[in-house]
Structures are given as structure tokens and as C-alpha cells.
Assembly symmetry: C2
Amino acid sequence: MLSKQMLYNLENSSAIRKMFIEGQELAAKVGAENVFDFSLGNPVAPVPRAFTEALMEVLREEDSLALHGYMNNAGYPEVRQAVADHLNRRFDLGLSYENIVMTVGAAGAINIIFKAILDIEDDVVVFRPYFGEYRSYVSNYHGRVVEVDPQMPSFQPDLADFERKIDARTKAVLINNPVNPSGVVYSAETLRAIAAILERKQQEYRHAIYLIADEPYRELAYDGVDIPYVTKFYPNTFVAYSFSKTLSIPGERIGYLVVPPAMEQWREMANAVTVANRVCGFINAPSLLQKAVARCLEEKCDVDFYDRNRRTLYDALTAMGFRCVRPQGTFYLFMESPEPDERRFVANAKKHNLILVSGSTFAMPGYVRIAYCVSPDMIARSLPQFQSLAEEYGLS
Amino acid sequence: MLSKQMLYNLENSSAIRKMFIEGQELAAKVGAENVFDFSLGNPVAPVPRAFTEALMEVLREEDSLALHGYMNNAGYPEVRQAVADHLNRRFDLGLSYENIVMTVGAAGAINIIFKAILDIEDDVVVFRPYFGEYRSYVSNYHGRVVEVDPQMPSFQPDLADFERKIDARTKAVLINNPVNPSGVVYSAETLRAIAAILERKQQEYRHAIYLIADEPYRELAYDGVDIPYVTKFYPNTFVAYSFSKTLSIPGERIGYLVVPPAMEQWREMANAVTVANRVCGFINAPSLLQKAVARCLEEKCDVDFYDRNRRTLYDALTAMGFRCVRPQGTFYLFMESPEPDERRFVANAKKHNLILVSGSTFAMPGYVRIAYCVSPDMIARSLPQFQSLAEEYGLS
């Protein structure tokens, strides 16, 4: 009945969603207030008031037929120009509206990039740990995922392993910065090294190898850390961006992708991803949302909200004896499992009503992901549970 | 640089968009008021006031985090229930919210259905003339399009040809009712015959053959014609619906698909298309739009607006000696080209500043499509141009 591809997708269906559902089942049994669900990356910092006002203004001010009608499949030119201006102001990139394609979120952006560039059995290189949905996106185009190991304990990519993993079949390298699930931020040094390796490999294999920077967490960064703009390091770079986390609006599916002017044949590529937007069935990013985000490009949610959660949780868990990667971005904490099989640890945590996600989902067994996009109150109430879990493992 | 798939898509890129761009170039030369652009199916009947009010109300009334946040990938349960209730009231279908998946328009719906059911080299049967984008959607999943001829002059499907075209590789049959580009409405008799053939073929080949009804034009029907609900004729039917034409909001990308309770293993299939919504990168239909359409399911644009255009244009063109399929739905008129090569006719029409779309785009050479979703004034001003074109061909 179902296609082979779909059976693959169902078997590998999101372990994150699965844990979320287990958490809900547990809540039905023991009461929602007694379950500490750290599974889902659903933003909880309030939606900026300016976003709601922008939607209202657009609805009041614009002609409704033009507002809700078809436009170029790349989006409204004036919205794309506003995004280009915003990025130029912040990062000095020399973009025009023609370098911007408005997309159905970052997931839509990554899919239309793959549609434009991936042939069957092309390789896409990813860095462990990584967001498991990347496997689905690559398999949509019958590509193959090739995994690169992290350096420990920094969780920056192991560059020697990266260089080894690139061969004639490599069409693209997909990075996520800041990284879901580790919360690590790739430094300028890391990006410079990645770029140098890719430049060499392009020469060696005589074809373009694209770097795709998936940046939905760009604005969720802490300790004043700098998140370099990747197109500055390597010309054949696409940037996929989403407003989901920046504005706490993941249900709205609005983002954009950047095809920088330094990319080889960038006009052909911008045209190709635009056609891909249409033929993949997205057609265009939702029109009202395009107009609304264009009016609040300088806005973001209360990032300090997540930062406070980050500090509370990191400090408490490490004090209990857990070992965590210190996150500088995203709203995730990546914690080492006190026993080698982290799935057993996840199951034990659940007995303490703690809902965590297994690192295997992110191709990183031995770790668990804790999404701290939750209320500070829930974190405070969860700490005694983490404490008894730590004691169970003899950590403190 | 580009994938083979993408090169195919670019070569076969939308001839409709191409004519639209040619029209814009002509307008730049001779003035927009002198160009009669009948290329694009962009709704022009005003957006119902109730839709704008629904958006405003939702923004005022609902908690912004919940409103713009993630929900089940199938959509908000209460929105899906509202759609189910609406359809049950009108067509007595016995649907619950579990039979409805909110989608990024009908294009999104068709793509996730194909993702769920199509294996490489499966056949999808379509009826000429048909919307050319279907070729892209099928090719996204490496399926093959198999074309069935129409009966002439009714433009109902040739059922004998349909039966011949189904074989062991047939996984799905995709119909569009009312039909873009012919404006024809498939009768209950036609649907009953299609269903009977499919039932026999399912028996013969011992696997499910799915009927997919693409129904964005359902509400644009004239002369009181009945558009039967296809799930009543054949259990293994998906219905893909869009609010684009009903509410004049094609830029917003909001629609739904129906997995009826009579479909074999409908729960597994509903789950599969929901997962497909996620893995294809749609994730979910835009959340604000879901909430807004749920509040105006009984609304539609001024269908009489299109009906008046239809009558004016049909009556005038046939009086001039052109031969047209009499449309009972959509906002398209399908006209026979007075010379066998309709692309030459399209080129000649352009000399009269008339922008039409070649029937070859719809796999129906010898015809042209005229989109009458334009101002009545433009139609009135275009008639002398059609008249001189008719005279050029010695029709009147």
C-alpha cells in the first residue's frame, strides 16, 4: 500500500515526536504538572508584540487581493529586498533581492536546495550530532548521508575525518550553526578550515561542492558569542533561515534562503531553487507571513529567557555530577548518559517523569538531548527528579 | 551544477508563467492598458471580507504562542474537525478530524499523497487535457505519467482508453474536477464508470489503485451544475482541496486533504501522509491560516463575477466563429485553435496583444486556454482584438 520510501520514513519516524507522545501519555496518567517534558523544540519565549502588530497593519493597509494573491515563486520582490538590506546592514554581504528566495521555513529551503542540486546517490556530508530529519530530506532525493565525527570534548567537527569523507560523489555539506542538539557554535576558525578543505576538494574533483548552512538558531546565541556568516568564508554556500525560533512562530512556516552573488552561476541557481519551490508543491512562502516578517526583521523574542534556563539547568546538572556540553546557542543541552546505552538512561529518566530524547536520534549514542524551551518553573520543579536520577547512578 | 531532475523541470518549466512574462514585457512596450493578458489563473474576485475579519479575530482572541506554534503535523485537531463537520453537512461523508490533514495548498496535498504511495516507475494516470504541473509532481517521485484521451466534443474521459491504459504498474489516477483547462465538470455518470473500472482493475492486479481528486475549483461552478463528491463513488479516493480559488487567497498556501474512512487501512494512510507532510519539508499548513479558514468554511468569493465573465466571453467568441468547450466550472475557457498548430495561433494572438496559453502545455495541442479571472472591463476591451483575430482567420 505504501511506497518503499514511505516505509523507510515511517520506520525512521521522528524519535523526538515519539518521546513527546510518550510524555503526553505519562501526563494523562500522573498529571501534566508532574511530567517534565524536555522533548520538543517548541519555542516558549513570548511572540514579539511587534509581529502581531505587523500582521494587523498589513491586513489593514494592503489591498487584500494583492496581499493574498500569487507573486513570483521566490516571494515578493520588496520583501526579498528588505531581507537583503537587513543582512547587508548586519553582515555587509552585497545582496540584492535576487539573492533571496522566501521559503516555507528552513525545512522548505533545504528541500528545494536538494531538489535543485542532488542526483540519485549523490552524497551529502553531515556532522555528528545532527538533526535527524536531515536523513529524510536527503532520502527525498535518493541521496546518501555521510557522517563526520566530532572532536571531543569541544564538539567542533573533526576536520581530518571531514577531509577523508569527501569524495567524487560529494555534492553538498550540510551544517547547522548553532548546532541542534549540542548547542555548540562553530567558530570562524572551524568555518575557515571547512572552507579550505572544500576549496581543495572542488579543485580535485572539478565540480561544485555546496555548503548549506541551516541557521534557524542564529539569533539564539549566548555569552556574546559571534556566529560568523558562512557565505563570507566559502562562495558556494547556501544559507537556509527560518523565523520559527527568532519570533517564536514555528507553526507559520516562514523563512528564506540566500544564494550569494559569489556563488558560481548564482543567477541560474537562484532560478533553479525558485522553480524547485514551485515544482515541490510549496509554490511560494505564505504571502501574509512574508509581508509581516518583512516589517519586523530587527525583532526577536526574549533570548534572555532561554539564557536563564540554560544557566539554571547547566549549573544544576553539572553540580549533580552530570557531564554536559556547555551550549552557546539554541535551546538544547546535550548531556552525556551516565551509562553507555543512553536509551536505557532515557527509559530510567522517564521513571522519574523526565522526558528526554536519545542521542541516537542525532547519530550520537551515549548522549541525551534536553530541550530547555520550557517554563523556568518546570525546570525548577524538575531538579529534584534529576537529583534522584543522579543519585541512582551514584553521581553525587 | 544542477541535478538531472532539475534540468528536466527547467526545460519543462511552466509555459503559463512564460506567457505571463511575455505579457508583462509586451505591457512595458505598448502600455499595460493595451495588453489583454489571459495567461494566469490568479483570482480577481474580491477576498471575502469575512476572511480578513477572521484573521483579525484570531489574532485578537488567541494566545499568540499557541496560535503560531507547532501542532500535530496534520494540523490543529479543532480545525480538522471543523472541516470534517463542514463536509459532512454538505455531502454526508461520516468524516472525523482524523480523516482530514491540513496542507500547504492542493499542490502540497498532491505531493504528500505521492510521497506516501509512489514507488520509482509507478504509473499515474491522468486525463487530457490536464494541468501541466502534474508532470512535475509525478516526476518528483520518479513516477511516470500515463495520458488518457478525452471524448470529443464533450471532453469527458474516453473510458475505453482509460481501461486500456491501466496495468499492473498503475498506482494512482489523478483527476481534476472541475477541469483546468477545459472548464468541464465530470458527471456522476463519468465518476461511476471510472470507479467501476478501477474496482475491476484492483481485483485483477490485487493491489490498491488510488483515485486522487484535485478539487481547487469545486466552488467555481455555474448553471447550478452538481459536482459529485468522489469518495462516495470509490473508497480508495483522496480528495485534495485548496482555499486558493474559493477565497481568492492563492498566495497563502492553505488547503487540506481527505483520507475517507472507507479507504483500505485509512488510519495507516492518514498517518503516512501526515509523516510525509513533515519529511517533505512542509511540516504543517501555516497555523494562522488554518485557524482563519476554519472560521469561514461557508464563505466563498463572488462566483457570479466569474460567471458573468464566462458568459460574456463564451458568447462573444462563439459569435465570432471560434469554437469553445462550454465551461461549467473553473475560470478557464478552452478554445479550439483555428489552425492546427496552436502555438502559431498563440503567436498571432500576441500580435493583437492577446496573451493566451498553448494547449500543448495541457497535453492538448490544437487548443488554447483563456483564463477569464480578469476584470470585465478588460474582457470588453479585448473583444475587438479577438474580432480582428477571427477575421484574420476568416471565421466571421
